[in-house]
């Protein structure tokens, strides 16, 4: 039942449409102030050279900041680390989350709620607090990890878990995985609970049980949920900042630098705001592409 309003120019608006526009206005205002305008200025700023302490002194440099990025070895290290985190997060968070969800859904009969709560708990703790807890665990002098390894006669890394450039990025991955796997588990568990029990009964008659049923029945049935989980993890991995900043600050010697921390370093420590804007635009483009995939996948899901 659409009521139609006609104004003096003959232009007609349905009351539903007016309501939609009115309801959208607050969100649009906030998006404009906090997303569109900053993004616009980031794009504009990426073509200039200026610093945090020289905000009124913008110098036009065209595409120089983008050319500089393409020649900057630390930018490529940061991008590579983001990709490492993406793939490792998918394996750790989505992979382990799926297994845990399957176990909780069909593998155990008692204590499901307790296990689900325990596994989900790290998710509700602040990432900074989680990082500090792990900073203490990893400490080469007083950390519990080294103590355990030494107690059972195993070697510990001589440069420390977070001081060795070859392993530090993986140590960060473990922390991120520890915190986020619970969320993935809950997401996938919701998908699993939507799979009809009758399908498993029919498969059982055909001889598909246990791992076989999981592989041939469960995984295809929750395919769309898995795609969404992978995309959420991927976008999260590209936005990662706090774990790296608290645990290593991008070190040792830029070995754990990711785009987020590298942009921060360039903007606030080295005062290259224009260059930091250019790096942010690169990150924005990556996030937009991934966001588009996520949108498509969630609609299909």
């Amino acid at each position: 039942m659409n009521k139609t309003q006609t104004n003096s120019t003959g232009f007609s608006l349905s009351s539903d449409r007016v309501s939609v526009i009115i309801l959208l206005i607050p969100a649009l205002i906030f998006c404009t102030i906090f997303i569109f305008i900053p993004a616009f200025w980031a794009i504009v700023g990426s073509f200039y050279s200026y610093g945090m302490t020289s905000l009124n002194d913008w110098k036009w440099v065209g595409f120089d900041n983008y050319i500089k990025a393409s020649q900057d070895e630390f930018f490529w290290i940061a991008l590579k680390n983001n990709f490492i985190i993406v793939f490792a997060s998918i394996v750790l968070q989505v992979g382990v989350g799926t297994i845990l969800a399957a176990i909780l859904d069909r593998g155990i009969k008692y204590g499901k709620v307790i296990f689900r709560t325990i596994i989900f708990t790290p998710m509700v703790i602040s990432s900074v607090a989680v990082s500090i807890i792990w900073l203490i665990i990893y400490d080469p002098n007083v950390g519990i990890l080294n103590s355990i390894l030494k107690a059972i006669g195993l070697p510990t890394p001589s440069m420390g878990w977070l001081g060795d450039p070859d392993i530090s990025i993986w140590m960060i991955m473990i922390v991120a995985g520890w915190q986020n796997t619970g969320f993935m588990m809950v997401l996938i568990l919701a998908g699993l609970q939507g799979v009809s029990k009758e399908v498993y009964d029919a498969a059982e008659i055909d001889g598909a049980t246990g791992v076989k049923a999981f592989w041939y029945i469960t995984l295809p049935m929750i395919r769309n949920i898995l795609i969404v989980a992978i995309l959420i993890t991927t976008i999260g991995a590209f936005k990662v900042f706090e774990f790296v900043y608290v645990l290593t600050q991008g070190g040792p010697s830029n070995a754990t630098q990711v785009l987020g921390t590298y942009i921060y370093l360039q903007a606030f420590n080295l005062l290259h705001m224009g260059y930091a804007n250019a790096l942010s635009v690169v990150l924005l483009i990556i996030a937009l592409i991934l966001g588009w995939f996520q949108l498509k996948a969630s609609r299909r899901a």
Binding site: T53, P140, M159, W161, G163, P165, G251, S253, F268
Partner: protein, 440 residues
């Protein structure tokens, strides 16, 4: 009905009474608001957190400022060290930043002055309560950029080796006076018990080793030879090419092999302080802020010695590490005179004495230092030793251009990890320095 009538009449009276009361309260509220907004001057002051006696110090500052201008309210916000370095730059560019703020004097403070974010305080030196009445010309110049004063230095920090004399006496160890003796001392300590870390090094935040290389550059290369390189004014073909810089890094490798703990890049600096305070390690290199920290952790029987001279180096060991610190005023403050007054009163005779007594600061105004009661032994040592030094060197991460400073910080990590040799470290620093010079 009659009851109802009287009730209504009573209600009316009550309503009238409350209405008058509200009107009165509103008038009073707006009057006070008007009066307070007319006269109160809120001065936002940002400082670093974590120093003992800070609350008492700022309570006293508020009282002292009110003696000159009773309308000034000093609102103090404290920040953690690393967060502050970023936050202050953001805040000064915004519209809600501090009026008065802490800074390290050197490139950090000069950059803000050059960018027009720090107020020129020269005109306020000789006003009533102005800093010119309290600190010497030499200390005023610590905050000078191009002949103008952009900051009021209230204190300085230095660094010393702290050692456990009981441990040294027990094992017949003597205080090292040369770098070679320092390495020998480390070797002797390890020979006593290989599990003892002679000098704990926590470089997880990178600046710890930066302070060591600052002193090694001074001892090995010397102030005269580093001056043009640090200022990026040396010709391109000479910039950071002095082989003595590599020699300084080689000393770091020697220290890492003989003195430091495993995994220094993964070790927290606070933990290393606790290792010394708990007498687990017998020696460490730490700032003048550390004496109070060790004491607060229950260890007061420590002694200090200077960073030893390097055999064959350019420095005789009498030049020390010293970074002046103080308050700057935001160029955007709405109350420049009041803000300048707060920065000035911060170095008044009374405040300087309180700074020394409450916060253990090495103050810029020593007018009342004789009145200091029960000065701890480490404070007396700092004051006497700094007065006895032939010169001072600023720390590299404050002194150098931001990119070169970052390169030095990164190379500290690399050299400690053994992922870059001293020569490779200097090659990288030179490359960054050339780029920074070209961009200037």
């Amino acid at each position: 009905m009659l009851t109802s009538y009287y009730l209504n009449k009573e209600e009316c009276k009550m309503k009238q009474y409350f209405s008058r009361l509200w009107t009165g309260l509103l008038i009073t509220f707006f009057s006070f608001s008007f009066i307070s907004s007319s006269y109160a001057i809120d001065i936002k002051l940002w400082d670093l957190s974590g120093r003992q006696g800070q609350d008492e110090f700022y309570e006293l500052l508020q009282k002292e400022v009110k003696k000159y201008n009773p309308d000034i309210n000093v609102i103090v916000t404290e920040w953690e060290n690393e967060a502050y370095k970023t936050q202050i730059q953001l805040a000064l560019n915004g519209n809600d930043g501090p009026d008065v703020f802490f800074n390290w004097f050197g490139e950090d403070s000069a950059r803000l002055a050059r960018a027009g974010l720090a107020l020129d305080l020269t005109p306020y030196a000789d006003m009533e309560g102005g800093y010119g009445n309290f600190i010497s010309k030499g200390w005023q110049d610590a905050g000078a950029v191009d002949g103008k004063i952009y900051g009021v230095a209230n204190k300085a920090v230095s660094k010393y080796f702290y050692y456990d004399p009981a441990f040294f006496d027990q094992h017949n160890l003597s205080v090292p006076t040369t770098f070679g003796e320092l390495i020998d001392t480390c070797k002797s300590i390890k020979a006593i018990d290989p599990s003892i870390v002679p000098w704990p090094m926590g470089n997880s935040e990178r600046w710890k080793l930066n302070h060591v290389i600052t002193m090694l550059n001074q001892r090995v290369v010397g102030a005269e030879n580093t001056k043009a390189d640090y200022a990026l004014t040396a010709p391109d073909d000479e910039l950071f090419t002095n082989p003595k810089y590599v020699e300084a890094w080689e000393k770091v490798v020697e220290l890492n092999e003989n003195c430091f703990n495993d995994a220094p890049n993964a070790t927290n600096p606070e933990l290393t302080r606790s290792m010394f305070a708990a007498q687990i390690s017998p020696m460490m290199y730490c700032g003048t802020w550390c004496g109070g920290i060790f004491a607060s952790e229950g260890f007061t029987d420590f002694k200090m010695f200077r960073f030893p001279r390097v055999e064959g180096g350019a420095d005789d060991g009498t030049v020390g590490f010293l970074v002046a610190e103080g308050l700057q005023v935001s160029a955007k403050t709405k109350h420049p005179e009041a803000a300048a007054l707060v920065a000035s009163i911060n170095v008044s005779d009374i405040m300087a004495l309180a700074d020394a007594e409450l916060r253990g600061s090495l103050i810029s105004n020593a007018a009342l230092i004789d009145q200091m009661e029960d000065a701890p032994h480490w404070f007396t040592f700092y004051v006497n030793d700094i007065a006895d030094k032939s010169g001072h060197v600023n720390v590299l991460d404050v002194l150098l251009e931001a990119n070169v400073s970052n390169a030095y910080l990164d190379m500290g990590t690399e050299v400690l990890n053994g992922t870059k040799s001293p020569q490779e470290a200097m090659d990288f620093i030179r490359k960054v320095a050339l780029e920074a010079k070209a961009a200037m």
